[in-house]
């Protein structure tokens, strides 16, 4: 890849890594109708960035910690209040995003570009980020090798899964943890506002091609990879922002497959 500028190589590798991590998390998000949950975690990531800057700690770490806190908060509030979960998610998503923006604006001494957190800044990817992406990718792979069937059973019916001896709560918690890691890492690539699209759109498009859960996962991986490559190329050629270009590439694929009837 000597013909490519180094920043583009880093961007491409990072984007592909995130696409590969997003696919297995995304299909379950679609199957379990949890896309708004993912969006809420992603929105709250900006608050994680603000707090990280505020306390001067590593941003990935603060984003992951805050995502987990928000996930726990959703769980607790859902039990305590009468509000439906989509109302709760809406409140949490936007209040944490607003708080994040306010906290950021109060830190006058810090030179930060809010736009790069909201919509990504793929050119800022470093070799360290790539290492982190590879590590999370490996953890995701191991998790799915071990719990693929368990996750499917939980998706079908939580109670049935639990009676059948699956550690439902532990596995769901691990899934959310992976989601938080993925969101933290993909912030540089597509930004907090667009992270969910990377999870949802390739999976939704893959439904049109799949007849089994694992073929849907397979096509989701492929379509995610194609979207990243297409988006990066478009961004390079037409000089448009990379994150939105990747999301639009995925959307384009989704639209092209929309007219195709699902195999079953």
């Amino acid at each position: 890849m000597a013909w490519m500028p180094e920043f583009l190589v880093l961007a491409l590798l990072g984007g592909l890594g995130i696409a590969l991590i997003a696919a297995p998390l995304g299909v379950f998000m679609v199957w379990q109708r949890q896309s708004y949950f993912g969006a809420t975690l992603a929105h709250s990531a900006l608050l994680g960035v603000s707090l990280g800057l505020f306390w001067n700690i590593d941003l990935s770490l603060s984003v992951i910690a805050l995502s987990l806190l928000i996930a726990f908060g959703i769980h607790q509030l859902a039990r305590k209040t009468q509000l439906s979960s989509d109302t709760l998610l809406g409140i949490l998503a936007h209040s944490s995003l607003a708080l994040g923006l306010v906290l950021l604006s109060l830190q006058n001494n810090v030179q930060i570009d809010i736009m790069s957190y909201l919509f990504g800044d793929i050119l800022s990817i470093t070799p360290t980020d790539l290492l982190l992406i590879a590590a999370v990718g490996l953890i995701t792979l191991l998790f799915y090798l071990k719990h693929w069937r368990d996750l499917l059973n939980i998706t079908l019916n939580r109670e049935l899964a639990q009676v059948e001896g699956i550690a439902v709560k532990r596995i769901q918690l691990q899934y959310v943890l992976l989601l938080a890691l993925m969101i933290a890492l993909s912030m540089k690539i597509v930004g907090v506002l667009l992270v969910t699209s990377l999870l949802i759109i390739p999976a939704a498009a893959a439904r049109r091609l799949a007849t089994t859960p694992q073929t849907m996962l397979f096509f989701s991986l492929i379509l995610g990879v194609v979207s990243v490559i297409g988006g990066l190329a478009a961004s390079f050629v037409w000089d448009i922002p990379t994150g939105p270009a990747i999301v639009l590439a995925a959307t384009l694929i989704f639209l092209m497959l929309l007219n195709k009837k699902a195999p079953n």
Binding site: R33, L145, R149, E159, V163, T212, P213, M216
Partner: protein
């Protein structure tokens, strides 16, 4: 008869409202126990407590060590975005040791027999979302049976099944407990066919109103007060039970199931 499950003085409340009051029961191998009661009687809550899905406010549930339970939930919603055949669905219910990483097309003779007996062979290649309510009940029962359970827990097993199918399904369940020596715990709110083969009927309305064989239970004033079945033909029969009277507290349920 070996004891499979024992509940001892179960109490349960949601917020300030008590939904279960002092429930004790036992289930043995080869025995059919049917839990009946009007809507809101706490049947589902009790079932969840017995399955250890929720902790009771007070009281204890003891299951036989390593008790293998086959559970058939009342209904199951599967999102249309999940591409899955009935065959795949059944395979997912199998203990992991018997299947591959993703999916094993490997069928034991037993799988074949259960599929035959429940007449779901023609559904195996169908998407799970396409099967009808009655077919889904049979698929769920097959999945529960393929785990080779000692205790079968069925939550409203004949929902969405036509009358002919109901008779067949109950007949099959009854045959199973003899053949496999299964313990069966069943929840129902309709009694016409359930009653015949049941060993023990537990009539639930927050507390156990009455319990016993179908014959004795159907003649208790408590049962008649709730279900009103053929009430006018039955002589009033005094059944020993605890301090609570069902007529006084729950007489307004009369409109349910009146003949």
């Amino acid at each position: 008869m070996s004891l499979l499950l024992k509940a001892d003085r179960i109490y349960h409340s949601f917020a300030q409202t008590e939904v279960l009051h002092n429930i004790s029961l036992q289930i043995h191998a080869g025995e059919i126990v049917t839990l009946i009661g009007p809507n809101g009687a706490g049947k589902s809550t009790l079932l969840k407590i017995l399955l250890k899905l929720i902790e009771p406010t007070a009281g204890s549930v003891t299951q036989k060590t390593n008790l293998k339970i086959g559970y058939m939930p009342q209904k199951i919603h599967i999102d249309p975005t999940l591409p899955m055949t009935v065959e795949y669905f059944l395979d997912l219910g199998q203990p992991r040791s018997q299947s591959g990483l993703f999916f094993s097309a490997h069928h034991t003779i037993e799988t074949h027999a259960v599929v035959e007996e429940l007449n779901i062979g023609h559904l195996l290649k169908q998407p799970i979302q396409n099967v009808s309510g009655g077919e889904m009940q049979r698929v769920l029962l097959a999945r529960a049976l393929l785990r080779d359970p000692e205790l079968l827990v069925l939550d409203e097993p004949v929902q969405g099944v036509d009358l002919q199918g109901q008779t067949e399904l109950y007949h099959y369940i009854n045959e199973l407990r003899h053949r496999r020596h299964l313990g069966i715990l069943m929840v129902s709110h309709d009694l016409h066919i359930v009653m015949k083969n049941t060993d023990q009927v537990l009539c639930l309305n927050q507390h156990l109103c009455c319990s016993g064989t179908p014959q004795s239970v159907s003649q208790t004033p408590e049962f008649i007060a709730i279900f009103g079945q053929g009430a006018e033909e039955l002589a009033i029969y005094e059944h020993h039970h605890n301090e609570h009277t069902c007529e006084a507290t729950h007489g307004h349920h009369n409109h349910l199931h009146t003949p």
